[in-house]
Symmetry: C2
Subunit: 216 residues, 2 copies
Amino acid sequence: MRSASGGPGSESAASGCSLLVERAASALAHEAKNPLHNMALHLQLVSEKLPGDAARGVDRHLQAMRDGIAQVDALLKAFADLAAPANLVPDLGQALTRALLLFSFEARRKSVELTRKGPAEVRVAAPGEAVLEIVCNAVLAGIALAREGRLTLAIEPDGQRVRLEVIADGGVPRREETLPHLEAVRRLSSVAAAEPSIDVEGAGPARLSLSFAHTR
Amino acid sequence: MRSASGGPGSESAASGCSLLVERAASALAHEAKNPLHNMALHLQLVSEKLPGDAARGVDRHLQAMRDGIAQVDALLKAFADLAAPANLVPDLGQALTRALLLFSFEARRKSVELTRKGPAEVRVAAPGEAVLEIVCNAVLAGIALAREGRLTLAIEPDGQRVRLEVIADGGVPRREETLPHLEAVRRLSSVAAAEPSIDVEGAGPARLSLSFAHTR
């Protein structure tokens, strides 16, 4: 399914460029880990070495730097999980967090107002990699449908199952842009043991609903 | 050639996963720009607000943080150039710098000792995007050929032309891993107006040489 995880045989099937991008993507988090770790270490040394008064005066800035390091780290980890997944926890909430880290730029670029609802963590009975891929595709389809409008992403527990609701409203939908993503959602649904329900053609809000089995 | 730069039509031709990775890749540098910029700003405020004595005591650490921010920024820019290129300057030296930023993890992972020689900047007469792609493929082929050995990457001006020499020596070559990269080098050579010379089968050092026209 993914050329980076296969051997040289599967790689040669991908286009030369995707091969490069996927190779570089899987190295990116590793390459950035050292400088980020170093920065956190030196930041720690700064707050330890400064006399009390001086430290209090710059505490706000040191905290902002800590937050910045954590943000870049989270972003690169989310990207690594997508580009070179390894033993991903199958969690619908975490997958949605990662998808939003990676694609909120896409939403801003298309003037989409995002609202997230529901729990931050919900384990589901499916391979973690497929859960992340299907959620990313659902979010990208939602962004295309909500162009210049509102997109609600809600995780709703429902008995033995849990649903991801993607509701696009008030925008100028670009249905042709959703096609590869909806195709991927359908293709991945059997892998992720998800039941999709897609209603994007009517006059009302476009709605994409994915129901997963809870982990027992 | 690259799905991320085409419309929805070209995207649907790519596999679902490459599509996601390429989408996320092109957003990554944008998403990381804000936190990195903020960190640099707060770092500046720290050094301005600290009294002279206190500032001198932590100066080394502040400098290390500045360096860290620059490193992560350079890495993300190199990746963006590969994943979502926009008006790349056709420069053989800069392309080699970016390829080394992105793939030195790959070299470490395969215990390859890298040596770079020649100028850091050399403009060539070719599209910048093709120059970066061909150099990345040449470097990855070289790393596979130099496994557990040495890899020399040398830029050598030669009259009206300039050559990138990739010489792998003393290792345990993995020729099958080079195939997609050598195929890409051959395919891209006409786009990049490069003349490749590939000699990887003999008993001596494996050598890949790419000759480009200098910008007049």
